[in-house]
């Protein structure tokens, strides 16, 4: 009958809008959490040996200390690469603004070292495995605005579940 079929579509329509609103709310909540509080990241590659495994780790990074400017020397950070804004490497902060940083330019080839003063508004980042790491020794001091978050905790592989600390372990 006409009236029962229209009420079926009414109910279906109401259910669909309710689910749609719920999906939108969940999406917005997830967005706000990952953009302003905490977000997961998959880290791979050799540049942070021995802190991170080259074959893959899942870590959680928080955004609160970067927003509040409470970053310290020795923190491991997720940053946006100044060479490609779509890539987000993970490196360790070695020098803050005003620090005098000495580094070996290319440990694979020579022993030549340089010293540089980190300019205002920038940080100096280096990978823990300097033999194979594209970091500030190549692209220069990193503007603070490119830092996405500070790595807090590794959740996978499970046998290495634990904090990613400020000192190399």
């Amino acid at each position: 009958m006409a009236s029962s079929s229209s009420s079926f579509w009414n109910i279906a329509y109401q259910q669909a809008t309710k689910s749609g609103v719920l999906v939108a709310k969940v999406y917005c909540f997830l967005h706000v959490t990952t953009t302003h509080l905490l977000f997961p990241a998959y880290a791979f590659g050799p540049s942070m040996i021995p802190t991170l495994h080259p074959s893959g780790n899942v870590v959680f990074a928080e955004r609160i200390s970067t927003r509040a400017r409470k970053l310290n020397r020795g923190d491991v950070v997720v940053l946006q690469s100044p060479e490609d804004p779509n890539k987000t490497p993970i490196k360790r902060v070695v020098g803050l603004e005003g620090d005098c940083v000495s580094f070996v330019v290319d440990p694979e080839k020579t022993d030549e070292s340089k010293t540089i003063v980190v300019p205002k508004g920038h940080v100096w980042v280096q990978g823990d495995y300097t033999h194979n790491s594209r970091d500030s020794r190549i692209f220069g001091p990193l503007p603070y605005g490119l830092i996405q978050g500070r790595v807090l905790w590794r959740v996978w592989p499970f046998q290495d579940f634990g904090p990613i600390g400020p000192t190399t372990t």
């Binding site: 709310k25 917005c28 100044p82 060479e83 490609d84 920038h122 503007p143 490119l146």
Partner: protein
């Protein structure tokens, strides 16, 4: 009790509205005021803060960071990351820019920004090319005051 329930309902609605608004502002677009005259006459053609322009900044360009020469963008300052500047992209990665004495190549992943009012603008001529990752949005329209509503092309 009635008033407690009402307060809880209002708080829940405000919280949800705040989260949705924050998501829209981060992902879609937001309205920001333009301060200063470094982009005169495109923005703020007269120096009177009561008549500052308000512009619409779209955030969809941050998905892939593809910009064109001539785009007006909002970006975080490389030296004072809490400050936001509005300038025009004049050089894309790989292009050559002639500054006062020499010719500079814009490195990969960076862009060269300059204000339209070159006499009073702090831009790439001072702090060099900026990484594309510092860009926070692209200006598409002027939305206030009503007589200056226009599309920025």
């Amino acid at each position: 009790m009635g008033i407690q329930n009402l307060l809880w309902q209002v708080t829940k609605k405000a919280f949800t509205g705040g989260i949705i608004g924050l998501t829209i502002s981060d992902r879609c677009c937001s309205v920001v005021p333009v301060r200063g005259d470094s982009m005169s006459p495109t923005f703020n053609p007269q120096r009177n803060s009561y008549l500052d322009d308000y512009v619409l900044v779209e955030k969809f360009c941050l998905q892939d960071y593809k910009f064109a020469r001539g785009d007006v963008v909002v970006f975080s300052s490389p030296t004072h990351y809490r400050d936001r500047y509005i300038k025009r992209i004049v050089g894309l990665p790989g292009e050559w820019i002639s500054s006062s004495r020499d010719v500079i190549r814009v490195p990969e992943g960076h862009c060269w920004v300059e204000g339209d009012n070159k006499a009073s603008s702090l831009d790439s001529r001072t702090f060099g090319p900026i990484p594309l990752g510092l860009i926070r949005g692209r200006v598409t329209n002027v939305v206030w005051p009503p007589q200056r509503v226009s599309k920025i092309g």
